[in-house]
């Protein structure tokens, strides 16, 4: 499954949908709304938006690249948009593979590429009432969080 969704993400459902008898490993990454911004400010919610058609197309490209790099890996990439509270899942990336090494590598590759390439934006809503669009400043190989 490669999708932009508006409803809450249920990792158990995504895991069940990805299961395959040939997979000995599924690695799951969940990106979760946290209460502190990188500069320490208190965050009460995030607002996500996406160019849905282009974001889904980018997920398809990333999944295809991952399949080239890590044979026999299959990816699930689901990103939620709308207003999300602290503790809610914003993005889920699952990588299924016969062996764990490729699953770990593909999962990390996919989330790095999603963050750096997919046309998705988030606004941090701070406890003091201010808000700011937050850009992923890091390149794909510097993982701030």
């Amino acid at each position: 499954m490669l999708a932009i969704v508006r409803e809450p993400i249920d990792p158990a459902r995504l895991d069940a949908a990805l299961r395959d008898d040939v997979f000995g490993a599924i690695v799951t990454f969940l990106g979760i709304v946290r209460s502190r911004a990188d500069d320490g400010r208190s965050v009460w919610a995030l607002e996500y938006e996406a160019h849905e058609f282009m974001a889904t197309a980018e997920f398809e490209k990333i999944a295809s690249e991952a399949y080239q790099r890590f044979p026999d890996v299959r990816l699930t990439i689901v990103h939620r948009i709308g207003r999300l509270d602290v503790g809610e899942i914003a993005v889920a990336v699952l990588a299924g593979s016969p062996h764990r090494g490729a699953a770990f590598d593909a999962c990390e590759y996919a989330i790095d590429e999603v963050k750096s390439r997919a046309p998705i934006w988030k606004k941090e809503l701070y406890a003091d009432g201010e808000e700011r669009w937050k850009t992923n400043a890091c390149g794909p190989h510097e993982r701030a969080g």
């Binding site: 990106g31 996500y48 938006e49 996406a50 160019h51 058609f53 282009m54 974001a55 197309a57 990103h79 914003a90 993005v91 989330i111 999603v114 963050k115 750096s116 390439r117 997919a118 046309p119 998705i120 934006w121 988030k122 606004k123 669009w133 937050k134 850009t135 992923n136």
Partner: protein
């Protein structure tokens, strides 16, 4: 010809008061469309270098020619995940 504008994040907010369509002369390029948007909203000027543009879902260079009915998407630096 008429082009629809799909703006996102901070660029969307800057254009919130503007119509979501642009009327341009036939043969207008992506650069012409951006210039017309800058005329509506001068705060876009400093964002020219960082905003990527897509025509009907495909990233395009500024020299590309637009057609009637195209969607021009304005994509500021991303922040997903």
């Amino acid at each position: 010809m008429r082009v629809s504008i799909a703006a996102f994040a901070g660029v969307r907010e800057l254009l919130a008061e503007c119509p979501a369509v642009l009327d341009l002369p036939d043969g207008a390029t992506v650069a012409d469309a951006w210039k017309a948007l800058e005329a509506r909203q001068p705060a876009l000027v400093p964002l020219a270098a960082s905003t990527r543009l897509a025509r009907n879902g495909q990233l395009v260079s500024r020299g590309e020619t637009l057609g009637h009915g195209d969607e021009l998407a304005l994509l500021p630096p991303v922040g997903g995940g």
